[in-house]
């Protein structure tokens, strides 16, 4: 087993805000690791420390076998980083953006590589179009093409599909899986549960701390969460009532249905009991990743300060 990312006890403070707190992450080579957590939990900061954009206050580790602090340049050369906000040049064409990237990394066979990337993207016929005029989904795919042009060994993606439609998201993820199959290691932050489920493993970070990690099944099992699925009229009103009941850690309405979760089976049963009557129908279901994350978010200290 070769670790592409192996960092220990990363810390970063901005002012009096401890944004990343003792984070330790290991990602095996060729794996896709989903990086999850609420807004402001330190995901972006962690990614930036991994690719040398930020210097950790303390902690150490290696990415691709290079020290992330002392050998940041070596890491940069072998890492592709895709920012949360589109950060290619909107006033350059699609081809010009890729050519710029190719030159900056000093790549050989520039024309060949750019043409291949355009082909792979399906943008060969639109190479002369200004990048700024692309739609959100295309922009993200172009950014991915630019981030992988120099054939990195590690890919860091910061919420790459925020605001992108489901079809474009699926295309994007197909590409990521194709890249991982070629041996690329991917660390991707996301808020989408379906994306989290497509990762080989996930790491959940909250308030700068790594709280849970493992495969989706492991994280769900590790949560010890019990979930009841209820159906019936006014499910959304019910969710509101149940949310404050003792033993209920999360209660959320999904259209005409409701998910009630908690870790204490007896207390949860007691809370649901008054509603175990017609016209409601209850069944116990395995908790979804979303149930688990909402529970995790509720547990950890609020980071919106």
């Amino acid at each position: 087993m070769t670790l592409a990312i192996d960092v220990h006890g990363l810390n970063k403070t901005f002012g009096d805000k401890h944004v990343v707190n003792d984070v330790t992450i290991q990602v095996e080579q060729g794996r896709i690791c989903g990086f999850l957590g609420p807004n402001g939990s330190g995901k972006t900061t962690t990614l930036r420390m991994l690719c040398g954009l930020l210097t950790p206050d303390s902690g150490s580790g290696e990415a691709l076998g290079f020290d992330i602090i002392a050998q940041a340049d070596e890491v940069k050369r072998r890492t592709g980083y895709m920012t949360q906000k589109f950060s290619l040049y909107e006033d350059l064409t699609i081809a010009e953006n890729l050519q710029f990237t190719a030159r900056v990394y000093g790549l050989d066979r520039r024309k060949d590589r750019v043409d291949k990337a355009l082909e792979r993207l399906g943008l060969a016929t639109r190479r002369g179009q200004l990048a700024g005029t692309l739609s959100g989904g295309w922009k993200q795919r172009l950014a991915l093409a630019a981030a992988t042009l120099h054939e990195p060994k590690l890919l860091l993606l910061d919420e790459p599909t925020a605001g992108v439609d489901p079809k474009a998201r699926r295309t994007f993820w197909d590409e990521i899986h194709a890249l991982a199959a070629e041996g690329l290691t991917v660390l991707v932050s996301t808020h989408y549960m379906d994306e989290a489920e497509r990762c080989h493993e996930i790491a959940y970070i909250s308030y700068g701390r790594l709280i849970a990690r493992g495969t989706a099944a492991e994280v769900i099992a590790g949560s010890g969460l019990i979930t009841f699925h209820g159906e019936g009229p006014n499910a959304d009103k019910l969710a509101h009532e149940l949310a404050t009941a003792p033993g209920v850690e999360t209660a959320a309405a999904f259209g005409a249905a409701i998910h009630v979760s908690g870790t204490d089976r007896a207390a949860l049963e007691a809370a649901v009991k008054p509603y175990r009557r017609e016209p409601y129908r209850w069944t116990e279901v395995p908790p979804t990743l979303e149930d688990v994350f909402i529970q995790l978010m509720g547990q950890s200290q609020d980071n919106v300060q």
Partner: protein, 377 residues
């Protein structure tokens, strides 16, 4: 249309007021601009400078000569800073700008005054900036009538009456017709280059930060110096094109003399363009937004226009303002450009200004390199 609602007006007004009080620039505009402008215009700017440095060559040591020097001093326009021993030395002081005026009292002056034989003194003015010398030259008109009033007594008393006992010959050197454009047009080269180059480069890096493209740039193997050279080189072209246009128009439209000093001029232009670009780059490493970069450039350009001797005579300013002015690169660049074009200065006359410009380039580049962050920390 639902008519004017004061409640809605109030909503906007309250929002605007809150945003205004949260923006530090508002306070800068409200307080700094009036204070700075009033101080500059009220104290520093003086379109009729006095106490101008004057070199004198007295070829005879006589009462009359001493009286004339005293009278010049008393007019408050002339401060005697040097005694020249030869016409060449006098000429050099005028050319380098060490002296604004050169007064020559010839060897036969006393004899001629006594004989009533067309006695003359020669006053040469550095008239590159006509407005700087205008007042002093005008004051010279009263000199012959008064300077020797106490000396011409007894038998010589009649010499002091009627027609003046001597005459002042004024030579306006370098710009004999007192054409303002000769002074302003070369000066504009400095102002235009500062205005465009500092602002353009200041915006160029800030734009990357603002648009988020900086994050991608930083995640690549690019070195700071590579970014700086790559970013600034195109603007060197911009600066050279502008220089060509301005000098071309100066020559063909305004007939500004192009009397030489090309080596110093070329060196000066190269240094000034480089320095201005590096300064713009430095500003862009400090400013967080393009708007802030614009405002910072403005705070550089305003004193460059007012205190550099571009608009108002440098020697008309009080000492503190002259010290400030000496710290402004444009001041030194203007001296090089005017000195080259109008006074055909050589490198020997310009080395101090060129040295100042070199220091400007080195200091600003070093600061910019030190400020440029390779990370987002």
């Amino acid at each position: 249309m639902t008519g004017l609602s004061w409640l809605r007006v109030l909503a906007v007004l309250i929002k605007e007021f809150k945003q205004l009080t949260r923006d530090r620039i508002t306070y800068a505009m409200m307080l700094a601009i009036p204070v700075v402008q009033l101080t500059l215009f009220g104290y520093a700017i003086n379109t009729e400078p006095r106490h101008l440095p004057t070199a004198v060559m007295v070829q005879e040591d006589s009462r009359y000569a001493r009286s004339i020097v005293a009278a010049l001093k008393n007019s408050l326009y002339f401060d005697f800073v040097a005694q020249a021993r030869s016409p060449a030395e006098l000429d050099r002081m005028l050319r380098t700008g060490d002296a604004q005026f050169a007064v020559t009292i010839p060897g036969d002056f006393s004899r001629r005054v006594a004989r009533g034989d067309k006695a003359q003194i020669l006053v040469e003015a550095d008239a590159t900036d006509p407005s700087a010398t205008g007042g002093a030259v005008a004051a010279l008109a009263a000199l012959p009538g008064q300077a020797l009033a106490h000396d011409l007594t007894g038998a010589l008393a009649p010499r002091g009456q009627g027609s003046a006992p001597f005459e002042v010959v004024v030579h306006r050197r370098y710009n004999p017709e007192a054409i303002t454009a000769y002074n302003i047009v070369p000066g504009l080269l400095g102002i235009i280059l500062s205005l465009t180059l500092v602002m353009m480069t200041a915006l160029s890096v800030t734009r990357e930060t603002e648009r988020g493209t900086m994050e991608t740039l930083l995640s690549t193997p690019l070195e700071p110096i590579e970014v700086m050279i790559g970013k600034l080189a195109p603007y060197v072209m911009v600066g050279l094109v502008q220089t060509a246009i301005i000098l071309g128009m100066a020559a063909f439209l305004f007939h500004v003399p192009m009397s030489g000093g090309w080596l110093g001029l070329s060196l000066g232009i190269a240094l000034f363009i480089t320095g201005s670009l590096a300064l713009g780059f430095l500003i862009s490493t400090v400013a967080r937004s393009q708007l802030a970069a614009m405002q910072m450039s403005f705070f550089y350009i305003l004193p460059s226009i007012l205190l550099s001797g571009f608009m108002f005579p440098f020697r008309g300013m009080p000492a503190w303002a002259q010290w400030l002015g000496e710290a402004i690169p444009v001041t030194h660049f203007l001296r090089v450009v005017r000195g080259s074009l109008l006074k055909s200065q050589g490198l020997g006359d310009q080395w101090r200004e060129l040295l100042a410009l070199t220091a400007f380039v080195l200091v600003v580049t070093a600061l910019a390199m030190a400020r440029y962050r390779r990370t987002l920390d």
